[in-house]
């Protein structure tokens, strides 16, 4: 802040009231708040006048009105043309979350592969990863979405003549038909077995850690957990008489029958989002690994720790510290970028709510406010979660 021109010595300095930093600070803030309040007041009153003139009732009553348009993709939320606009919001939110989570999943896997590949001493792999990064990041995401959806996926064969992926289902221009799990009675036990296995793994890792701290003895937690998580549901599956079967889609002249259909809009968006974000994640991973000095590895080797545990216990935990904050940003970017779905009519939040609903109801302020606040809430929640995770991983400095 401002530095007052104070004479040295002689008690309290005599300062003009406007040059007193406190007074000046207060004055600036009051003026600023007044200006902003005036601006907001002007905007609100203008909006009220304009809305009244256009004959649009404000308020959130429209959420209970029947929407009257169909949405083809809604995996979890019940939706039909007679559903309300409030339901449309839920469907949009659901689709946004589904594409974001799927995108984050694949982008993380591909990104880690790319990041490690760029550091590989294998020349071809390193150059290939480099070319991947340079090509992906220098072309706009929207163009990628168009390329995947309008060009590449359109090259797939027609409905009646799908590509047969064997046990993985069928692929044609109308989408990917995955095998669908059919549950018979007793299938619930498998789910219960899975939950029990996961809980048991947590308890086991807790116990193993305490035992190691107390006695120094180690326990193969990872493999035991894997065995439990895979084994218990399998045992339950056979004990209950194999109640789960997979229904494979079958090709027919009018398109595949049966199976779970995944729409090309989803596939195109997923491909574009995860491949595009993966290049940023790859760079983050590379930077994270490079940030750990080689001395750490050498020191671990000097202590007699073998390569595997060195990587797992020394390098990766430290690299994660560098990786997590920018990785969070990329996850958020992916979530926000999923709003480009509107360009290819994948029914995400922006497409069905800020698009169709806004056009039909004209409730621009309410609809956009809801949409923006939803994204803001997702952003803030993810940030909080990742900050918490980051704080757990962070270096404890003394």
């Amino acid at each position: 802040m401002t530095v007052a021109d104070t004479p040295v010595g002689t008690g309290a300095p005599k300062v003009a009231i406007f040059n007193d930093p406190k007074v000046r600070g207060a004055a600036i803030q009051i003026v600023l708040i007044a200006l902003i309040a005036f601006l907001i007041y002007g905007m609100v009153s203008n909006a009220a006048t304009n809305l009244a003139k256009a004959g649009i009732a404000s308020g959130f009553g429209f959420l209970n009105v029947t929407a009257g348009f169909g949405i083809n993709i809604s995996p979890f939320v019940e939706y039909s043309e007679t559903s309300t606009y409030g339901r449309v919001f839920l469907v949009g939110l659901q689709n946004t979350l589904v594409i974001s989570i799927a995108g984050i999943f694949f982008a993380t896997i591909i990104g880690f592969i790319v990041g490690v590949a760029r550091l590989s001493s294998n020349w071809v792999i390193a150059k290939l990863a480099y070319a991947y990064v340079e090509i992906m990041r220098n072309i706009p995401l929207l163009l990628w979405i168009f390329i995947w959806y309008f060009s590449v996926l359109r090259l797939l064969p027609s409905k009646s003549d799908p590509i047969n992926l064997g046990p993985f289902g069928l692929l044609n221009i109308a989408g990917y038909y995955a095998p669908k799990a059919v549950f018979a009675g007793g299938a619930g036990w498998i789910g219960i077995a899975l939950i029990v296995a996961i809980v048991a793994s947590f308890v086991l890792s807790f116990w193993a850690k305490r035992r190691q701290l107390a006695t120094g003895e180690q326990f193969p937690v990872f493999w035991t957990s894997v065995a439990m998580i895979v084994g218990l549901p399998l045992i339950a599956y056979f004990l209950t008489g194999m109640p789960v079967s997979f229904e494979l889609p079958t090709a027919s002249r009018f398109g595949p029958k049966g199976g779970a259909r995944i729409y090309p809009e989803f596939l195109g968006l997923l491909l574009a989002l995860s491949l595009y974000t993966a290049n940023y994640i790859g760079e983050i991973v590379r930077a994270g690994i490079m940030a750990i000095s080689h001395g750490q590895t050498e020191a671990a080797h000097a202590l007699g720790i073998r390569s595997g545990p060195t990587l797992r216990l020394v390098v990766i935990p430290q690299a994660m510290r560098v990786i997590i904050p920018p990785l969070t940003n990329q996850y958020l970017n992916l979530t926000k970028n999923s709003s480009l779905a509107v360009a290819i009519a994948y029914p995400d939040l922006v497409s069905v709510f800020a698009g169709t609903t806004l056009n039909q109801t004209g409730q621009a302020v309410e609809v956009l406010l809801m949409t923006m606040l939803t994204y803001l809430a997702i952003s803030l929640l993810t940030s909080l979660l990742m900050n918490w995770f980051n704080a757990k991983m962070a270096l404890v400095e003394r």
Partner: protein
């Protein structure tokens, strides 16, 4: 041996007198083969990975080259050249290749949009003026950076506004109610004088209140208002240029206008926000944080929807913005929030001693920022600014969703033309778009890397 002298060496014939010349390393360790053994086939998993990568390359590169170069059509006048016989063209069955004559015939539209053809020179002049200003700024050795920046941020925007729109806007007053005086140019001048007087009065009050000298304050205000008036009068002057409304703009022109305006507008706003976020005043800090986090937390597309649908609602009756201008406002606010974080990074990177030093020599807050902090901080974040410009350049494609025709938008809209309709049309268009965007972004990112290594004094 070590103890054998030269005389005894001659007698004992079995002792060597000179070193065995070193043999050439085995062929498997040097040259191409050695390099391949070391870098490609050092172990079995590596060999498998190498072969897999080569397979991936083989899967992607030859078909792409075949499509773009070897099978491509290079001349033709309509869709016949780019369709197979079954589709009504001249190509043999099963042919797939790029249709470059389609790009050629549309190239002008991809660059200028629907700008009147006889007025293309105006757009070209703007591109030239931009290049003339930008190139010397980018080359660190060229002197007169200050004048150059003044040209780029002062003269160039005014000139390009007049060139692109045709200028000749009507100034008919803005302050006094119409009841007192009918809108006219004279009323504008009176309004402007009234406004100047009011601003001078506020400046005078502040100067008196803070016991600062009054004369320089009033002089600065008068200079600023005078420059603004000259610019406004230039906008109002009739240069004899045909008026071109923004709905006729399109293509690369719109892409560049949005990206450049966005970055130029976001820089000052971003600096102010970054300073606000670091301020000691709680209200200023809170407002800055809320502003920044809000824009950073929402997707750009919702911002564009907001500026195109919601912004008109917030304006008083009778005031309406052009569609392009609305998008520009949205983009500028959005970019400003990101710019603020970039600038904040630079400000935070400066050691505390810089602040303390500045305060110790008795600089005021603004003097400290202007002369000590910002010059260093902004220099530090040049790569970051280029980075946000690249991001913004890519993000401009989103304006096609709200119905503006940027470069990608023009390509999309050209698909509806039946003259060139063919199955390869969209692939060709996207390939071309990808090449153009890639060239722009790659060049910028290389420049950013170059600046980064130039500015990086820590590792030398």
């Amino acid at each position: 041996m070590a103890n054998s002298t030269s005389s005894s060496a001659a007698e004992t014939a079995f002792v060597r007198s000179d070193m065995v010349p070193s043999q050439a390393p085995p062929a498997s360790e040097v040259g191409v083969i050695g390099w391949m053994r070391k870098n490609l086939f050092s172990s079995i998993p590596y060999t498998i990975l190498t072969l897999f990568s080569l397979y991936l390359i083989w899967l992607v590169v030859p078909p792409l080259l075949e499509f773009g170069l070897f099978n491509a059509v290079w001349s033709g006048s309509d869709r016949e050249a780019c369709t197979t016989a079954a589709q009504g063209g001249i190509q043999s069955d099963g042919w797939v290749g790029a249709c470059w004559p389609y790009i050629g015939s549309y190239l002008n539209q991809f660059i200028y949009g629907r700008y009147p053809i006889d007025q293309y020179w105006r757009v070209n002049a703007v591109f030239a003026l931009f290049a003339v200003g930008l190139v010397p700024v980018l080359i660190p050795r060229v002197p007169y950076k200050g004048l150059n920046v003044l040209y780029l941020f002062g003269v160039f925007p005014v000139a390009s506004f007049i060139l692109l729109t045709g200028g000749n806007i009507t100034l008919d007053g803005f302050l006094l109610p119409d009841a007192i005086m009918a809108p006219s140019f004279v009323k504008f001048i009176i309004d402007y004088l009234v406004l100047t007087a009011v601003v001078c009065l506020i400046g005078y009050a502040i100067a008196r209140g803070t016991e600062a000298p009054v004369a320089p304050m009033i002089r600065n205000i008068l200079i600023a208002m005078g420059v603004l008036l000259v610019i406004l009068l230039l906008f109002a002057t009739n240069f004899g240029l045909e008026s071109v409304t923004t709905d006729q703009w399109g293509g690369l022109l719109v892409t560049l206008v949005i990206a450049v305006t966005g970055i130029v507008a976001s820089l000052p706003i971003g600096i102010v926000l970054a300073l606000g976020r670091r301020s000691q005043l709680p209200a200023v800090r809170l407002l800055s944080v809320v502003f920044i986090e809000f824009w950073r937390g929402v997707p750009l597309i919702t911002v564009l929807f907001m500026s195109s649908v919601m912004l008109p609602l917030f304006l008083p009756e009778g005031v309406s913005f052009d569609k392009l201008l609305r998008a520009l406002i949205g983009v500028a606010l959005f970019a400003a929030a990101y710019m603020a974080e970039v600038v904040r990074g630079g400000i935070q990177a400066l050691p505390k001693g810089q602040y303390e030093g500045a305060m110790a020599v008795g600089l005021s807050y603004w003097q400290m920022m202007q002369f000590i902090i910002l010059p260093q901080a902004l220099k530090l974040v040049i790569p970051g600014i280029v980075g946000s410009f690249i991001a913004l350049f890519k993000d401009t494609t989103l304006v096609l969703i709200i119905g503006l025709f940027d470069f990608l938008g023009m390509i999309q809209s050209s698909y509806s033309d039946p003259t060139w309709a063919s199955p390869v049309q969209s692939l060709t268009g996207y390939l071309f778009a990808a090449l153009v965007y890639w060239a722009f972004c790659f060049a910028m990112s290389r420049y950013s890397l170059y600046m980064e290594s130039r500015l990086d004094t820590s590792r030398r």
